[in-house]
């Protein structure tokens, strides 16, 4: 357990999903919802929190059952567990707001096959104790939500000149003279912003690692 050397394992586990192994910017998982729903900030919140709920609950269940699920049927079991929580989220969102449900479209149901969730179940939750698995899931979930928001804020601001459109908290950013860049709301805008942000976050991470290394060396 060389993790314990620098910091407590829990903090390490938690921060990994948020930053070092961010599911979107580093592992490039869950690209489909990332590109599809980030045209509105409110969608990013809803998608991120839904995925986080499913991630946390299924990681907990997978971790609790890790010694009882035979290896041969583990993927099938994980899918059933994940699908259950996704369906719960689906009903809950419908009961909260139909407009939100419409704008997320099929992407709520598609959380079932989101690689982040199955990936964490297989690679982490099935090999760790519940507390650690939940911590990892919260970290990954927040990391996913953070990444969605990074994209959503830029796309909505440039594409519509607002933040939080279609909610009571809508903020207009640039005044009436602003001509929205429609392309940012459309699918190509998603690719542009994602590409640039991956570039930026990789650069930033490299800088930080270099600085840490030189600080440690000195």
């Amino acid at each position: 357990m060389n993790m314990q050397e620098k910091t407590t394992p829990s903090l390490e586990v938690f921060l990994r999903g948020l930053w070092q192994e961010n599911p979107v910017f580093v592992m490039l998982l869950g690209m489909c919802p990332t590109l599809a729903v980030t045209n509105k900030v409110v969608n990013c919140f809803a998608m991120g929190l839904s995925a986080m709920f499913v991630l946390v609950m299924s990681s907990l269940m997978v971790s609790l059952l890790r010694n009882y699920i035979p290896k041969q049927v583990r993927i099938a079991s994980y899918i059933v567990i994940i699908a259950t929580f996704v369906t719960i989220v689906d009903y809950v969102i419908q009961s909260i707001s139909l407009d939100l449900y419409d704008s997320l479209g099929a992407f709520i149901q598609l959380i079932v096959v989101n690689c982040i969730i199955l990936g964490r179940a297989e690679a982490f939750a099935s090999r760790n104790k519940p507390a650690k698995a939940v911590l990892d899931a919260v970290g990954m979930g927040l990391g996913f939500t953070f990444a969605l928001l990074c994209l959503g804020v830029v796309r909505e601001a440039l594409g519509n000149g607002t933040l939080l459109m279609d909610t009571p908290y809508e903020i207009s950013l640039f005044g009436a003279a602003f001509e929205p860049w429609a392309i940012m709301i459309l699918p190509p805008g998603g690719f542009f912003v994602l590409g640039l942000q991956i570039l930026f976050f990789n650069w930033l991470r490299k800088k930080l690692t270099q600085r840490n290394a030189s600080a440690a060396g000195a």
Binding site: K71, V80, R127, A182
Partner: protein, 230 residues
């Protein structure tokens, strides 16, 4: 976890787990999951139904000026392939129970994001449409999505001419779509620039619904009028 521990588990597993254990595990998980879903379904059912109902009810009352209450009539109208499909007609009444107008559903699957479902108000006496409200759309936010809010586009539907030919009971002039910025006839819907596909889908939904439902509305006008008094 070390890799040796995993390898040990992997090699042991095939011998120690029989089919019964696998079936039991998967069955058990599915059973618990089914129970959980039944509970959640039951718990959210009322709210979801209420959300759906409120969305329609609110739209009906805003579309029909003067209406304070509404009543739903289920009818069968010829669908896209000619079969009778169930449709709802919402009649709006004022405080004395007089028929103020009806709200009708229209839908089209050719929007940019797929299905578009809307409700429009119709005054049988004047034979005009009063307005249109989008109930469900998956159009792109900020672009196609503007069919919901664009004031210019919404104005198309205030007073849209859908008068029927008294003999054939078909619209004299079926609703049609025109490009933004062109001169439009009273029965035409002028699109939004940048949202052509979505506006065309709305015009098409309206045309189909008007063609099939208006004759039915006129046939059952007496029944609709009585509905408010009972």
């Amino acid at each position: 976890m070390t890799t040796t521990a995993q390898n040990a588990q992997l090699t042991q597993a095939p011998q120690s787990t029989g089919s019964l254990v696998m079936i039991g595990t998967l069955g058990g998980i599915a059973l618990v999951s089914g129970l959980l879903l039944a509970l959640v379904y039951h718990g959210t059912y009322d709210t979801i139904q209420r959300n759906n109902y409120e969305r329609t009810a609110e739209a009906v009352l805003t579309l029909l000026p003067g209406a304070v209450s509404q009543k739903m009539f289920a009818v069968h109208a010829p669908g896209p392939n000619g079969d009778a499909t169930p449709q709802n007609i919402y009649a709006g009444y004022d405080a004395d129970g007089n028929l103020m107008g009806v709200a009708l559903e229209a839908l089209d699957n050719g929007g940019y994001g797929g299905e578009i479902r809307l409700l429009y108000g119709y005054l049988p006496d004047k034979e005009i449409v009063t307005g249109m409200r989008v109930l469900l759309s998956k159009e792109t936010p900020g672009l196609g999505d503007r069919i919901k809010t664009d004031p210019g586009f919404q104005k198309n539907f205030n007073g849209l001419d859908v008068s029927l030919d008294p003999d054939t009971r078909k619209p004299k002039n079926p609703i049609s779509y025109t490009k933004p910025g062109t001169d439009k006839e009273p029965w035409q819907v002028e699109g939004i620039s940048g949202a052509t596909i979505s506006s065309q889908a709305v015009a098409r939904a309206m045309r189909n619904s008007v063609n099939t439902l208006l004759p039915i509305v006129h046939e059952m006008l007496d029944e609709l009028r009585k509905g408010g008094k009972s």
